[in-house]
Symmetry: C2
Subunit: 513 residues, 2 copies
Amino acid sequence: MEGAVVRELNLELPPPSLEDQRADEARLRQELASHLGKEPVIPLSTLQKVSEVLRPDFRLKARVAYDGRDFRLLDVLRPDEDLPCLGLGIDLGSTGVVLYLYDFLKGEVIRRRSFKNPQIPYGEDILTRLHYADKPERRRELHRITVTTLAQEVRKLLGRLPRRALLYYAICGNTTMSHFLLNLETRHLYREPYIPAASWIDTLRARELGLPGHEEALLFVFPNRGSYFGGDLLAGILASGMHKREEISILIDVGTNAEVVVGNREFLLATAGAAGPALEGGILRCGMQAAPGAIERVRIDPQTLKIEVQTIGQEPPRGICGSGVIDLLAQMFMAGLIDQRGKFVPERLPERFRRIDGELAFILVPEEETAHGKPIYVTEGEMKSVIRSKGAMYTILTVLCQSVGLSFDDIAHFFIAGSFGNYIDPEMAITIGMLPDVPLERFVPLGNAAGEGTIAFLRDASSFEELRRILENLTYLEMNVRSEFMNLLTGALFLPHTDLSLFPNVARKLGLR
Amino acid sequence: MEGAVVRELNLELPPPSLEDQRADEARLRQELASHLGKEPVIPLSTLQKVSEVLRPDFRLKARVAYDGRDFRLLDVLRPDEDLPCLGLGIDLGSTGVVLYLYDFLKGEVIRRRSFKNPQIPYGEDILTRLHYADKPERRRELHRITVTTLAQEVRKLLGRLPRRALLYYAICGNTTMSHFLLNLETRHLYREPYIPAASWIDTLRARELGLPGHEEALLFVFPNRGSYFGGDLLAGILASGMHKREEISILIDVGTNAEVVVGNREFLLATAGAAGPALEGGILRCGMQAAPGAIERVRIDPQTLKIEVQTIGQEPPRGICGSGVIDLLAQMFMAGLIDQRGKFVPERLPERFRRIDGELAFILVPEEETAHGKPIYVTEGEMKSVIRSKGAMYTILTVLCQSVGLSFDDIAHFFIAGSFGNYIDPEMAITIGMLPDVPLERFVPLGNAAGEGTIAFLRDASSFEELRRILENLTYLEMNVRSEFMNLLTGALFLPHTDLSLFPNVARKLGLR
């Protein structure tokens, strides 16, 4: 299956004659079959147009989409007709939603738009929303607000672009998100034995959900591998390409949950665990999402203890985002402002430590230098949470590798995904013992891997086959039931680890300090 | 492909557990795949129902339809839920439309309904309607009146039966009818080189045309083999089964046009010609459609010249229908009331001949015996038209057979279709030289072959393959360009023929007379 899920073919057909009385449809279908290797399905709306478009000269542009089983002739245009040919990748996150408008003719994303998930008023966390949706009419409410908002935002993204140009949607989200999107039963998702209503969703038409676009526009929702392994992760795997490589890679997606996959084209082992919120800056009183004013980089000179921060958009600091938290912890540790156990060392820089609400806090930016006139700080307790999260992350990676008999040295690539995947500094993550101490070039940032996965899908019609193979090859490891997890976690709750031999480069730097 | 286009499967699935966490959809899909030999497509509306129907005991009835490429899981029911499982065969004739409600569980037609084609006010004959439809908005008008009336009549036919029970439509009509039904361009249909917009119509959903039924109900429109060989004929071939037989058959469909097919499972040769209207009773001043009061049988005692007529429904006579005309001509001929050249012989029964509007007429039923108090008669000119039609029919059969090197003796079956297929008396048709003089048991009445074809389609999912093979095997013979036609026709304009050796049984009866 070569080419994107939508392709435009420029065709010139032999004109009809008394010797060749084939119907317009048959003439076109046979020509398309010779290009596609298979006869396409021709929807009624296309049949109704084809005779006029073909005449007078029997040349046309044919827009064909692949639905996972068949090609469908979605539209026909005169050869001189200019109309963009568009697809829409959607990362339906439980917190934020990102739309990517993809131009099939240019082969690139031409517009982006992001907005808050409209389900948030029904519950910050997914479990609250699931409880709410136990009654069918409430589930329908969540469904409706999701598709209505989606439709509005797509219309805003399209602006003056003609609706007819939009031919394909590819949407990924975790299993709950895809169930709400499609109004599928969610009651069994979060009750033992945790059964989704659907895992594989056959390609539907966008208008079945009331989403704008060409009247025949197709819509693909990424499948899931159970309640806890959603289409967002599968999209991430697709974006990484790890499922096609011979060498073994690890994909790390730190969203609200930490989700990790190890494998190659022959096997894929996945797991998930609670590691995320602290690493995203979510639990910090001064935490914020990656947005203008968020501190994303921190540097503390180990000798002078001079502190420098860098914000997104170079704006006056407003808070700390995920990558900033990791930087801060690493830099405090290297500067001796926090010890191996996670205890603050206020005597090393007394003017920067203060008690806030009875808790010891480190002032990263004093009030006079912030955007809002309040200090930006972290407390000792918050940093302990971050350390627990990073320890959990490292332990998940360790257990996952051990369970397939691999060491970190066997891993060719560490793909770092998630909302902060663009910005995380692997060196800092290694310094705090969150990521293993392997050569830095092995870390590959994926950005928003889920979103990238939807674009990867639109770019390549063989994604259907690949997703099926990924689902077949994928094994899910239940981390909660692994007894070694708790044992291994204990060592990982230190900075970087109780066993410094696991972090030789960090040990060397600590020695140099 | 075994079984009907819709089948209901009673399934019992293994319930989910922590060891088997497959989604409801996956569980069901895999079970269906093992029954169907192929994974079905599961539409969104079914996915939205499946979790509830499966619980508590994971037993269900699954209703699967075949669309020509894939199975689609149209509906799921609780095991104890009682709901008819219905299909609708529609013969969309240019004059009359017949609906057949087919019960997939009983395997039989349970209701019928017929009504006039609502396009008639736009033109009695097809050409007038085609001219009218040259402008797109007028074509849309014809389309709309067709589907609106169809929808109304289907609702009347269904009565109190739940719409959800209706899962499949199979509609046949001539090429113009299927184009109007689907609102396809008709301008090129009747202008050289006579190109339909579409020949093969991929199965669509009934709701795309606004027809009632299950929201996912499928709709199949029979294909055509060009402007002059429509889906009604293909349905007739399907109903006859001639395309599957080893022995060679002929299918004769006398509608407005005479359409004839000769062949077997290896070849099919078709042609059409103007032979029809007179044979249908259409051009007679006392002609009428086959309805109560129509004279369908005539007997004239060659000795006593006593005349007996039989009407449909045993009602007082109102007019003559197609089979009555053939009977009348044959009986008049055998009784010596019309000669071999088609000239009336009034001296043989003077009281029954009269001049009407200056033309010599034979009074079949005097005014005092009819329903309307007016005589029922035929004129000499009208009978000449009938003789021209029967001569054309016989000549078409002759040319068709000769062109494949066959004689009538090589033909195992003559399938007689068309609106009067139920009633025609082959012996009478042979007597006038319309049908060849072969043993009577070779004539097989098909009734409304087009309608029967739609039921044959619903009964058997392999019809898709069969129709494709019929289309591949079918050659169309342009009768107008055959030089032998006019030569052969001359001999056939006699009763039964100038060459009596072609009609040995008729000759024998004439000798006995």
